[in-house]
């Protein structure tokens, strides 16, 4: 019986950091699951694949801020963004669960489905598309808007899931 949720790599920040990258991801799993538990100074958490910074991403999001529900959409973007700004309340943590199915095939564009939320600000779900059929070998996470950072203590863990 295959082991599920096999840890691939984990990072706990010892200092404020702008970008966290998981590289050299093996193609031996079926799906990837990424768990992030972070705080930062500004911006939403963003994801890119294989260091692609081109306008090859799009996403549709659903979010609630405690008062109302709304939906967002972005096309031809240089990343896929989450729903909550990292900086809203001191001591508040954003938890996100990212599901990246069939990440290692070379025939389909890659999709990611994730939920993220910060209890004092917003909760939501987003589906994102990376228009590239290459196998995903690296995943990079950073806050939006250039010089922003994840704070010390933020954690990022990547798991592999096998279908058989």
């Amino acid at each position: 019986m295959p082991t599920t949720y096999t840890p691939i790599a984990t990072t706990t920040l010892g200092s404020n950091t702008g970008t966290v990258t998981f590289s050299s991801i093996s193609g031996t799993y079926t799906d990837l699951v990424l768990i992030t538990n972070v705080s930062g100074n500004d911006g939403a958490i963003c994801i890119r694949f294989n260091s692609d910074t081109g306008s090859n991403y799009s996403n549709t999001g659903l979010r609630g801020n405690g008062t109302s529900a709304s939906s967002t959409r972005a096309t031809n973007f240089s990343y896929i963004a989450g729903t909550s700004n990292l900086s809203v309340t001191a001591g508040s943590l954003q938890t996100a669960i990212w599901n990246i199915q069939n990440y290692s095939n070379t025939t389909t564009n890659k999709t990611v489905l994730f939920r993220d939320g910060m209890a004092t600000h917003i909760t939501g779900a987003t589906v994102g598309l990376w228009r590239n059929t290459a196998a995903i070998t690296s995943v990079s996470l950073s806050p939006e808007f250039g010089a922003n950072v994840f704070y010390t203590g933020s954690t990022f863990t990547l798991y592999g899931v096998k279908s058989a």
Binding site: T3, T4, Y5, T6, P7, T10, I35, N37, L62, R63, G64, N65, G66, T67, S68, A69, S84, G91, S92, L93, Q94, T95, A96, I97, R115, D116, G117, M118, A119, T120, H121, I122, T123, G124, A125, G153, T155, T157, Y159
Partner: protein, 174 residues
């Protein structure tokens, strides 16, 4: 290589029902917790579902939460939680919903034994083939640096009925 999704505890409510489900003596040996809840309550509401509260370590302060929910024939809604618990961490089918139907919930709790504040992410599904059902997301926070060693689930109306279940799993990151 470590195993993941290791079962820590499992509760099935008996014929007498239960006012709450209380998971105690949770070891600190894992990285994250996943709590899967299948629930129905004895209360009856106009909507067919009942929200449920979560607390950690018996504490009744320091909580916050946001719910986003789609409700079928009602407009989507987003509301905030009280400070005494995470008020919408899970949902139950209620006594007025389709028989033999239980809501499904998954609650993810990362870094539960660490020294930071504790956050949760809940997925909620209450489907009963009626005009009104609920699909929801909840983000919750307990502003407390203590390691979580106890989780208590309480319906916000009525009691858990027989066959409601809660199973707690541990996940290690290495």
């Amino acid at each position: 290589m470590p195993d993941t999704f290791i079962k820590i505890a499992s509760v099935t409510v008996g014929s007498g029902g239960a006012a709450n489900i209380d998971l105690t003596s949770i070891p600190s040996t894992y990285t994250d917790l996943v709590l899967k809840v299948s629930a129905r309550t004895s209360a009856s509401t106009v909507n067919g579902w009942q929200s449920g509260a979560l607390t950690f370590n018996g504490s009744t302060s320091g909580y916050s939460g946001i719910l986003l929910a789609g409700r079928g024939d009602l407009s989507p809604v987003s509301i905030t939680s009280s400070a005494s618990n995470i008020e919408f961490a899970f949902y139950s089918s209620d006594a007025g919903s389709t028989g033999n139907t239980f809501a499904n919930n998954e609650i993810y709790i990362p870094n539960y034994a660490g020294s930071n504040n504790k956050s949760i992410s809940s997925d909620i599904a209450e489907e009963n083939n009626a005009a009104r059902a609920l699909a929801g997301l909840c983000a919750g926070l307990w502003s407390n640096s203590a390691a979580i060693n106890r989780i208590t689930l309480t319906p916000n109306g009525g009691s858990f009925v027989q066959y409601s279940t809660a199973t707690l799993y541990g996940i290690k990151n290495s």
